[in-house]
């Protein structure tokens, strides 16, 4: 937390932080789409975007201009209010959850301590879950308000899918919470500093939760992919079955908003995976003060990039689930494994704290 006496200054710094985070996020999303097209292209032995700029690097800019300039078509029988509301809701919620993500430690400038985080809520993790759980309305309402078959089916599928996998997502992180003993994301990262010591011996393994919660991590990551509607769980928009799913009837900027929120959600869950299981910004830190401030952010971004790359890799590798397989997997496999993980972890935590 920043410690200021002057409320105005605090407000100014928070506004600057929000502006920086939003600009960085939008740029990151733009280049994530470029990365996705490039990586998937290379997986399929193609070149991918190559024409706009060197190696297609200006392609996201061209895409953005195209989205803005395209004609905005609203279906005649659509429920106008909700049709407008849905994309904005999704976009707002996707960006809201970034507010509690800590990207790095803090630095001191002119006697003021500024942290790499917009706000440190003491229920930060639950805040993200609350915001993600509202995100389903954006998709469900988009599907319903379009007043068209395929979007409606896509919306129904996604609400069922997101409710089912939200449970596993929540259960998967309980193990981490029991170990860290806090709901604050900064607190969870701080609990993972240093190395694991086994019987007084330094193992030189980083003190990350992944080494004690591998099952929790796997359950979390699978549920997170389902929550963000990505391959192999992208049934809400399965183009071979539903044309385009919930956003079939959307065009122009409103479609772009769904697009942006999907990628923003991908970044959020990857940030969360980094924070909960991979030690957040912790990594080798050395050198002068400036480097000590920047390196943690760098390590955070490296870990984040690995997750995003994995997302894209999977899209290029795996086929889509069938709908009954998806439900069976979520309820009959992921959920019991998540509960079992909590049971075992709580016994171990109780045993360690009593001995």
């Amino acid at each position: 937390m920043a410690t200021f006496s002057d409320t105005g200054l605090l407000l100014l710094i928070t506004l600057i932080k929000i502006a920086v985070v939003v600009v960085v996020m939008l740029t990151a999303i733009a280049y994530l789409t470029w990365l996705e097209r490039k990586v998937v292209a290379h997986i399929q032995a193609r070149w991918g975007p190559y024409r706009v700029g060197p190696h297609g690097l200006l392609q996201p800019v061209a895409d953005g201009i195209k989205f803005i300039l395209k004609e905005d078509i609203v279906p005649l029988e659509a429920d106008k209010v909700i049709y407008w509301l849905a994309p904005f809701l999704g976009f707002t919620l996707a960006f809201l959850s970034i507010a509690v993500i800590p990207f790095g430690e803090s630095f001191t400038i002119y006697g003021h301590t500024i942290s790499f985080q917009i706000t440190d809520l003491n229920v930060g993790l639950l805040f993200i879950f609350a915001v993600t759980s509202l995100g389903v309305y954006s998709i469900a309402l988009a599907g319903w308000s379009s007043n068209s078959k395929y979007p409606l089916l896509g919306g129904l599928r996604s609400s069922a899918q997101m409710i089912s996998y939200e449970l596993s997502l929540g259960l998967a992180v309980v193990g981490v919470l029991m170990i860290a003993g806090t709901l604050s994301l900064r607190g969870i990262v701080n609990s993972q500093a240093g190395f694991w010591h086994v019987g007084g011996m330094n193992t030189f393994l980083p003190h990350w939760n992944i080494f004690v919660q591998p099952v929790g991590f796997l359950v979390y990551f699978m549920a997170a992919i389902a929550e963000t509607n990505r391959v192999p769980f992208d049934l809400p928009e399965g183009e071979s079955e539903l044309v385009g799913g919930f956003h079939t009837e959307y065009s122009s900027m409103k479609f772009a908003m769904f697009f942006l929120s999907e990628y923003a959600n991908m970044i959020t869950v990857s940030c969360l995976a980094t924070i909960l299981f991979f030690g957040g910004w912790h990594g080798p830190v050395f050198g002068p003060y400036v480097l000590r401030v920047i390196l943690p952010v760098f390590w955070f971004c490296v870990k984040l990039f690995c997750f995003l790359f994995f997302y894209i890799w999977m899209r290029g590798t795996l086929p889509r689930f069938r709908y009954d397989q998806l439900m069976a997997f979520g309820w009959k496999f992921l959920l019991p494994v998540g509960v079992l993980n909590i049971l075992v972890t709580s016994f171990v935590v109780a045993w360690i704290s009593s001995s």
Binding site: L126, A130, S133, L141, M162, I163, E166
Partner: protein
């Protein structure tokens, strides 16, 4: 803080009226979500961050999604006003008014004007609530969960018989 309370309290009341007044079921459901989220903000203003977030996760994020899901599944359109009971039509508003006055009187008696909020002094963190729930109120907690389980099983059994 007080300004925020009045804004969100007013929003909650207006949205609650909208829940009843709307003719399209989806709009009613959405208004109810607004009510639940405004209540969450009120909890937040009372310093109960945990309760506020849980309110959004459980009610707005899970239960209301099911409501919206069912409305979408049935594709329910606008409701036509029913003309069946003239008795209910004329007596409804006075009864609601009487009920409202009764609640206001009860609240007034409990917290006379100028009394401080007792809630503000309570610890509403996750640990404190966990202790209360699993130490002091463990029996009611478990009984409630069994009650919910019975309701779910009953729903499944009834639904199975249909097909």
């Amino acid at each position: 803080m007080v300004v925020l309370f009045y804004i969100f309290a007013a929003l909650a009341v207006l949205a609650a009226i909208s829940v009843v007044a709307q003719r399209t079921p989806v709009y009613s459901a959405l208004s109810l979500i607004v009510v639940l989220c405004s209540l969450a903000v009120v909890y937040l203003l009372l310093g109960a961050e945990f309760i506020a977030v849980i309110q959004v996760i459980v009610y707005a994020g899970a239960i209301m999604v099911l409501f919206v899901f069912v409305i979408m599944l049935l594709n329910a359109g606008r409701e036509a006003p029913s003309q069946r009971s003239r008795f209910a039509h004329w007596l409804g508003a006075p009864l609601v008014a009487a009920f409202l006055v009764e609640i206001l009187l009860a609240v007034w008696r409990q917290f006379p004007a100028g009394s401080t909020h007792p809630a503000a002094s309570l610890d509403a963190g996750p640990a404190a609530i966990g202790h209360l729930l699993f130490r002091n109120y463990v029996l009611p907690f478990e009984v409630t969960s069994i009650l919910i389980l019975v309701a779910i099983l009953g729903a499944v059994v009834l639904a199975k018989r249909e097909f």
